[in-house]
Amino acid sequence: MSAAPMTLDRFRELAAAYGAKLERWPESERASASRLLESSAAALSILRDEQALDEELGLAEPAALSPAFERKLAEIPVRHPQRALSPFKRWLWAPLLGWSVAAALGLVLGAGFADTNDVPTAAATAELSADEAIDALALGDITDWEEASE
């Protein structure tokens, strides 16, 4: 689907701002500007009016860097260590790191226990029975125990 046709007024606004080089215009408007340019002598004339100033602007050169200044910039990493994580990031990362370690530890220990429980031994079964008795006592209705002890 092609974009809506560009009006001559919009073309004039863009040329006044960005000059005659369409590659400098907003990407979303270049195609419709090109189409207008193909069919409008007025649009072509607007671009020609801007070309002379573009040529003048093309003469500008970046600022010259003195060797001493270049050296100062290059030495920044030597003279200034990179900062540590910001307090916010530290606050964010510390719990995440803690959770990750806990999860990893849980997996390792869990795997170890799973192995030992694959084939229960007689002693373990006996222990389990004792544990079950304690659980029943602990989880039972406390009124039963109170009544029994009176």
Binding site: R48, L53, E56, L57, A60, P62, L73, I76, Q82, R83
Partner: protein, 190 residues
């Protein structure tokens, strides 16, 4: 000389490497942008010594805070915005921000000097006498070749406001160049 690997990387990737402590990536950013950032800060501050200070501070921030850059935005815009904001801070400290924002400089070179000026010098002077925001807009888009969106991000304005700044800047430049060179400079070529 930059290593071929580094010269192929875009600014966002370089910033990510700088955040990991890569000094070579940091130096590549200096190679690409130091002289342009110096030009921008000089345009805003109109003082070459202060411009060097601000450019140095900009690269210090790049080195120490590259991890603050979010890949959602333009890396070039992020870089130039630091330099522009630091320049504005300097102007505020000087108490001159208001006058630089909307008023053009009254400074004019002596008339004898005008006749000796080459077109390049005339252009430099014409840009220097623009209001600060217009000078910054024209430098970012027409000299440093940032996109309109990136330049708007640097200046903290909408794209529409940037276009308005650029139009006024170009109109003023054309008038100043015509006045300085006394001919059709900056106007329609025959």
């Amino acid at each position: 000389m930059p290593t071929p690997e580094l010269s192929n990387l875009d600014e966002a990737t370089l910033l990510t490497s700088v955040a990991e402590g890569n000094v070579a990536a940091y130096r590549e950013l200096i190679r690409r942008h130091a002289s342009r950032l110096l030009r921008l800060t000089a345009r805003v501050l109109r003082d070459s010594s202060e411009a060097e200070d601000v450019t140095q501070e900009t690269f210090l921030r790049v080195w120490q805070r590259a991890s603050d850059y979010s890949p959602d935005g333009s890396a070039v815009g992020w870089l130039y915005r630091i330099a522009h904001n630091l320049s504005l801070d300097r102007l505020r400290r000087r108490g001159k921000l208001e006058s630089f924002e909307e008023e053009a400089s009254d400074a004019a070179p002596p008339s004898a000097l005008l006749h000796q000026m080459q077109r390049k010098t005339a252009l430099e002077h014409a840009i220097e006498t623009l209001p600060e925001r217009q000078a910054a807009a024209i430098t970012l888009v027409h000299l440093d070749e940032l996109s309109g969106q990136e330049a708007a991000q640097v200046l903290g304005v909408s794209v529409e406001a940037l276009e308005s700044l650029l139009s006024r800047a170009r109109r003023n430049l054309r008038a100043r160049l015509a006045q300085t060179l006394g001919s059709s400079a900056g106007e329609d070529s025959p």
